[in-house]
């Protein structure tokens, strides 16, 4: 494992690819690797990109990578796609739009499936971000379909969160309002040549303006950028806004908090603790037939599920 970590820090592609695999597959030794890796992290700037399927996230990411490369920045991309709830398999197709960067040594692209984690998506994506950070990438772009709490949490842990919408989806904006409007630092109206882009713009503006008080108190006011990512229109503007947001964060949080803001560290640590507890308790449950026995006892009416839960969990809380 130590060789692996050393080679990740040196930027070895195979080592990076394998460590992300180990994280995804939940190989137990990965914890030690991540511990060793942690001192090498905290340098990269993390961008979260989210939006409904088909709004052009991957195309936007592809163009952003090109722009960043022209500025001689190195980029890591994590493209998260959903796992089929029926088969457990997944088709990871985000790479199709980004494949032209495949031979560029300054770019590392990795597709990840959501795998129906117990809130573990957030954790494994964060760990994968750490790996790309440790390998020395300047920017890390995480792309997810912004559905479900886990995925919102993923983009929330980014420095800058970009939300992509397209014109004419009407109620779509309502859906965003309910979940992720609050976490958007920049809004992009992609495919802006389509009918209804002005309406979408005014809808978004109205929603953003409702937080006027916050901005008067010095809060960040999310800008809205119209873009046509496929024609490389508006992409540079998006990146300019990213830099403005970065400058804002640096100014308001200071260099140290900006790298590891207490709020983000708190969320990360809480996730790790939760997952570890789940893992340990469930891991021990799988070793015995107690769970099945409890299910049968409850089904026969001999036991209530609350007592059964206590009996299953409490003795297993003594870890190591």
């Amino acid at each position: 494992m130590n060789d692996l970590v050393e080679n990740v820090v040196k930027g070895d592609i195979r080592a990076v690819a394998r460590l992300i695999r180990d994280i995804d597959d939940g190989i137990p030794g990965v914890r030690e690797a991540l511990k060793a890796l942690y001192p090498h992290t905290g340098k990269a700037y993390v961008l979260g990109i989210t939006g409904s399927p088909g709004v052009g996230k991957s195309t936007l990411v592809d163009q952003m990578v090109s722009h960043l490369r022209r500025k001689e920045k190195t980029v890591g991309v994590l493209a998260v796609d959903p796992t089929s709830p029926f088969s457990g398999g997944a088709i990871l197709g985000d790479r199709v739009r980004m494949q032209r960067h495949s031979l560029d040594e300054g770019v590392f692209i990795r597709s990840m499936a959501t795998r129906g984690h117990f809130g573990g998506l957030t954790q494994s994506t964060r760990s994968a971000i750490d790996v790309l950070d440790a390998m020395g990438k300047d920017y890390i772009i995480v792309e997810t379909v912004g559905v479900g709490q886990d995925e919102v949490d993923v983009v929330k842990s980014a420095h800058t969160t970009v939300i992509v919408v397209i014109p004419g989806m009407g109620d779509d904006i309502q859906a965003i309002k309910a979940g992720i409007l609050e976490v958007g630092d920049i809004f992009v109206i992609n495919k802006a040549d389509r009918e209804g882009s002005d309406k979408t713009l005014s809808d978004l503006r109205l929603m953003i303006d409702m937080d006027q008080k916050k901005y008067e108190d010095g809060g960040w006011k999310p800008p809205i950028v119209k873009a046509q990512a496929v024609f490389d229109k508006g992409v540079e503007e998006v990146l300019e806004e990213v830099e403005k947001h970065r400058a804002y964060l640096l100014e308001t949080q200071g260099e140290i908090d900006f790298r590891r803001s207490p709020k983000r560290v708190r969320e990360e640590l809480m996730d790790l603790v939760k997952n570890r507890v789940i893992e340990e308790v469930l891991g021990k449950l799988t070793e015995t037939g107690d769970f099945d026995a409890a299910v049968e006892a409850i089904a026969r009416g001999e036991k209530d599920p609350y007592s059964a839960c206590d009996e299953l969990v409490l003795p297993r809380l003594e870890i190591h």
């Binding site: 088969s87 398999g89 088709i91 795998r115 573990g120 939760k274 997952n275 789940i278 891991g283």
Partner: protein, 171 residues
Amino acid sequence: MISCAPGIVPDLDPAGGVEVRDDSGSTRNHIGGIMTGKRRIRIMVAKPGLDGHDRGARIIARAYRDAGYEVVYTGLHQTPEEIVEAAIQEDVDMIGLSSLAGAHNYLFPRTVELLKEKGADDIVVCGGGIIPDEDIPTLKAAGIREIFTPGTPLDVIVKWVADNVEPRGEY
């Protein structure tokens, strides 16, 4: 998080993975989120060369997904170099090459050759598409493990993975 998901009950499968069954009765496999140490097979479906027909490749990708594999699709017009680099970054266990345009005798062996150069020849390569019978022995001799020609049933192609592909060895 389990406690926040009302109606979802963890169930333990005999293989050590954890299944979660929601109250609608559908079953989801939740082995990834906890440290089970189970490797999930990853496959890259790639379209090398100038061939613009990917219906077949997409159907194969779908069949692999339905069999529970994670499939990375590269899209059209890939060079062997691009495919190999992507396969290494994605840490896939197998590459399925699809060619319907006649350049397989160059593209398929070249892919295997590049994998060797990069020290990644433990990635299994198979191919499919319009490939004349007389080309198959040469391709197999070049390291392409299997060739699937038109008319091969999907379940044969999918089962071949289960029988021939193991998760890659340790780093």
